[in-house]
Every structure is written in structure tokens, then in C-alpha cells.
């Protein structure tokens, strides 16, 4: 196998009760690549992300981070340190300041000393443009700022890969922009990212490749230009057309 595959997913299956959410998903991610997963709601996009760091174990299939099989590893905590996760609902720790949120993983997981952790936390907050909010608590921040703290928190762990689970779905359009800007700059810096989103404009410009999923299967996978202008599947075209229209209308 190629050493360039940072993440390799093979034949994932998952059912919740009688509902088969994933019906054999395989793809891979190279170092420095940004892939965006799109598709209608309920097609299992977020489930894939939850499988990758084993917050929810798959029923079948394998996931390799470099050469480690995530699904069978004995030290999942170690693997999770290397995979950042940015949540739709932010998942910030409400009793800690922005800085505290970024530091806690460094202190409690990486066992860094306090001073070092603080420096790194401030550095990461600067990266997402929140230096002046370092001492604010989540309840004092806007949604966009919260999500940027979420991103800084993921970055601070120096992950090999960051997963974004609809990072802007809980934000109004005005705040979406500031989060997407941060994500775009990460992509430019060469961070490896797997993003589930409905932001087609963003996906089109940032993704190296897009994965279109429906009913638990990958319908089509291609660079965005090809997917948008000349998709092989009729269904891809319908979906992208509908979404693009929907969102560009929302943006005005």
C-alpha cells in the first residue's frame, strides 16, 4: 500500500437497529489533502466521522490511520490524540475559558507543563483570530467564536488529521464566514482534513476531492470541478444543483 495514505477506510458497515446507515464505504485520504463529504441528511456522513475515532464503533470494516488499525487498536486514546474533531454543537467545556478549553487536552492528555500549554494555547487562539477572547467563557462568545475555539482546541493537540462534522450548521450565515475562513487557511497550510458540510461554495473551492454519498453508499467521488461541471451520475448533478441553488439563494 502507498505510504502516502494517512487515512484508509475499508468497507465500513453500520446499522442502527434495522436501519442500515452505512453499506460498505471505502475511501482514503492522503497527507495534506482536504476531502469534503456531501450528501442528503441521514446518509451516514457523520457516522463515518464517529467511526474514524471510534466514538461509535462500526459493525464491519477497517479504518487505518497510517498503519494502525483504529478498529482493533488496544490504545484508542492514543489514536484519538492524533485525530482532531470539530463538532456541529462545538462541544466546548463551559466551565473553562477559551484558553482553558484549548489547554485542558495539553495538560490532561499530553501532560504538558502549564506554562508550555498556555503558550501553545495562546498561539492556537491567535491562529483562529481569538487572542483577545482568551479569557472569555463559552457563554460569552458568539457561535462563530465558539467554533473557532473548537478548532483551536483541535489544532493544539497537533493532530495528523482533523474531522469536521458540519462545523457551520449551527451558525447563522454571517458567522459561518469567519469559521470557513479559518478552515480555508488550514487547508492552505497543508492540514489534512475530512469535512462534512453543506457549504457547497466552500467545498468547491477548498476540497481536493469531494465525496457524494446517498443512502449509505458513495455515489461518486471526484475533484469538485469535475463533480460540479461534469458528474458521471445523474443523481450527483441533481443534488449539487439543488443545494447550490438553495445556498446561493440564502446568501443573496
Amino acid at each position: 500500500m502507498s505510504n502516502n495514505h494517512l487515512l484508509r477506510i475499508e468497507n465500513l458497515h453500520k446499522s442502527f437497529g434495522n436501519n442500515e446507515v452505512l453499506k460498505g464505504i471505502s475511501f482514503h485520504l492522503n497527507v495534506g489533502e482536504t476531502k469534503v463529504v456531501v450528501g442528503p441528511s441521514g446518509t451516514g456522513k457523520s457516522t463515518i466521522l464517529n467511526h474514524i475515532n471510534m466514538l461509535v464503533p462500526p459493525d464491519q470494516g477497517h479504518i487505518y490511520l497510517e498503519n494502525v488499525d483504529v478498529t482493533t487498536t488496544t490504545d484508542i486514546h492514543k489514536v484519538r490524540q492524533e485525530i482532531g474533531f470539530v463538532f456541529q454543537d462545538f462541544g466546548l467545556f463551559n466551565h473553562l475559558t477559551a484558553k482553558g478549553n484549548v489547554m485542558i487536552g495539553l495538560l490532561r492528555v499530553k501532560k504538558m507543563d502549564k506554562k508550555e500549554a498556555e503558550e501553545l494555547a495562546l498561539f492556537e487562539l491567535e491562529r483562529v483570530g481569538l487572542t483577545e477572547f482568551a479569557n472569555s467563557y463559552p457563554a460569552q462568545l458568539s457561535g462563530g467564536q465558539k467554533q473557532r475555539v473548537g478548532i483551536a482546541r483541535a489544532l493544539a493537540m497537533q493532530p495528523k488529521l482533523i474531522l469536521f462534522d458540519e462545523p457551520t450548521s449551527a451558525l447563522d450565515p454571517e458567522l459561518t464566514g469567519e469559521v470557513l475562513t479559518v478552515m480555508r487557511s488550514l487547508a492552505d497550510e497543508g492540514m489534512t482534513m475530512l469535512i462534512v458540510t453543506h457549504e457547497m461554495g466552500f467545498a468547491r473551492t477548498v476540497a481536493d476531492e469531494m465525496i457524494f454519498m446517498e443512502y449509505g453508499k458513495i455515489v461518486e467521488q471526484a475533484p469538485p470541478e469535475k463533480l460540479f461541471t461534469n458528474p458521471e451520475q445523474k443523481r450527483t448533478k441533481e443534488f449539487l444543483f439543488k443545494l447550490t441553488e438553495l445556498y446561493s439563494e440564502g446568501e443573496k
Binding site: 463538532f87 454543537d89 462541544g91 466546548l92 463551559n94 487536552g105 467563557y137 457563554a139
Partner: protein, 212 residues
């Protein structure tokens, strides 16, 4: 009044026992497997449906039949504490569940172990949420300590009895006893609300909007 002192000691130690047992019970109820959850819920049902006096008698008069004879104070705090543990665990369980969920997921996703996440992320917030109901429980517990007079301990109420059997002024003495309970309860409430204010998370609750 040394009776009041005994009452206070009883209340504090029982509350602590309730905390020491109640918190793990709550942890088990939220994160445990079916078996653990089952056992805990049986314990709680029992502890909450038997009158305190009966629990006390069982421990003080019942256990010696099995060869375990406990001193009065220990029997008293065990009865009060074990029962309080059941109530306290319900309080903590609710508090834990109201914080858990997405924050637990976020903590785990950083590579934190479940227990670390519980300790550093969930617990600090749950404790804050639990303060008001815990104040309630302490107030109830403080007054419930009066039942231990039934096994002959001289706490506040019994000391009151001593005095008025000696000089006959029952009403005055009982009112004085009531007043002391009242003052003690006030002190607990005051302390807890100070604690609540001190550890308030900025931006949550009434203070919303204070930030620029």
C-alpha cells in the same frame, strides 16, 4: 450548647458519607453497565422507601444480632449517611446528565480517558449545578438528625428534653431548640450560596449580558 454541636457533627459526617457514597453511585448510574445500574437502583429504592427511624433501628439494634455492634455515633451517621447517599446520588446523576453528552464526546475525542474526562470536565460543572439541591438535602438532613435521640444520643433535641424535664418550661425550651435548628439551617444555606456565587461560571445564568 453541646447538643447543637452533636447535631452539627452528625449532620456534617452524614452529609460527607452521603457524598462519598452518593457520587460513585451517580457515576455508576450514568456510565455503568446494566448490572451496575440495576444494583444501584435497587439500593436506592430500598434506601428511599424505608423510614429513617427504621433504618436507624436496623443498624443499631439489628446488626448486633449478626454480631456487629456499632457505637451510637457511627450507627447514627451510617443510617443518615447511607440514606442521604441515595438522595444525593439522584441529585448528582441529574447534574451529571445535564452536562454530559456533547462535552463528554469532545473530551473523549481529544484522547482523554473516560475517568479523566469525568473528573476534569463533567464533575466541575455538575457540582455547580448540584449546589442548590444539595443545600436542600443538607437542610433536610440536619433536621433529620433529631431522630437519633431514639437510640439515646444526646443531640440538640434530647438536650432540650433534659433541660425541660428539670425545670418544666417545655414550650420555651422547644422554641429555643427550634431557633437553633433555624439558625443552623440558615448558616448552611448562606455558606452554600456563597460557594455558588464564588464558582459561578461567567456568562451563565443571571449574569448573561454583563460581558461587553
Amino acid at each position: 450548647m453541646e447538643g447543637a454541636l452533636v447535631t452539627v457533627r452528625l449532620a456534617i459526617v452524614s452529609m460527607l458519607i452521603g457524598f462519598i457514597f452518593g457520587l460513585p453511585l451517580a457515576f455508576g448510574q450514568v456510565y455503568g453497565n446494566k448490572f451496575i445500574k440495576g444494583i444501584i437502583s435497587i439500593y436506592e429504592r430500598i434506601a428511599r422507601s424505608i423510614p429513617l427511624l427504621v433504618i436507624l433501628f436496623l443498624i443499631f439494634y439489628g446488626l448486633p444480632r449478626m454480631g456487629i455492634r456499632l457505637p451510637e455515633f457511627l450507627a447514627a451517621v451510617l443510617a443518615l449517611g447511607l440514606r442521604s447517599a441515595a438522595y444525593q446520588s439522584q441529585i448528582y446523576r441529574g447534574a451529571i446528565q445535564s452536562v454530559s453528552g456533547s462535552q463528554m464526546r469532545a473530551a473523549l475525542s481529544m484522547g482523554m480517558k473516560k475517568f479523566t474526562a469525568f473528573f476534569y470536565v463533567i464533575l466541575p460543572q455538575a457540582v455547580r449545578i448540584a449546589i442548590p439541591p444539595i443545600g436542600n438535602e443538607s437542610a433536610i438532613l440536619l433536621k433529620d438528625t433529631s431522630v437519633v435521640y431514639a437510640i439515646g444520643m444526646s443531640e440538640l433535641l434530647r438536650q432540650g428534653f433534659y433541660i425541660f424535664t428539670n425545670n418544666g418550661e417545655a414550650t420555651t425550651i422547644l422554641l429555643a431548640v427550634a431557633l437553633i435548628y433555624y439558625i443552623l439551617t440558615m448558616i448552611i444555606n448562606k455558606l452554600l450560596s456563597l460557594f455558588e456565587k464564588k464558582y459561578k461560571i461567567p456568562g451563565i445564568g443571571i449574569e448573561v449580558g454583563v460581558n461587553e
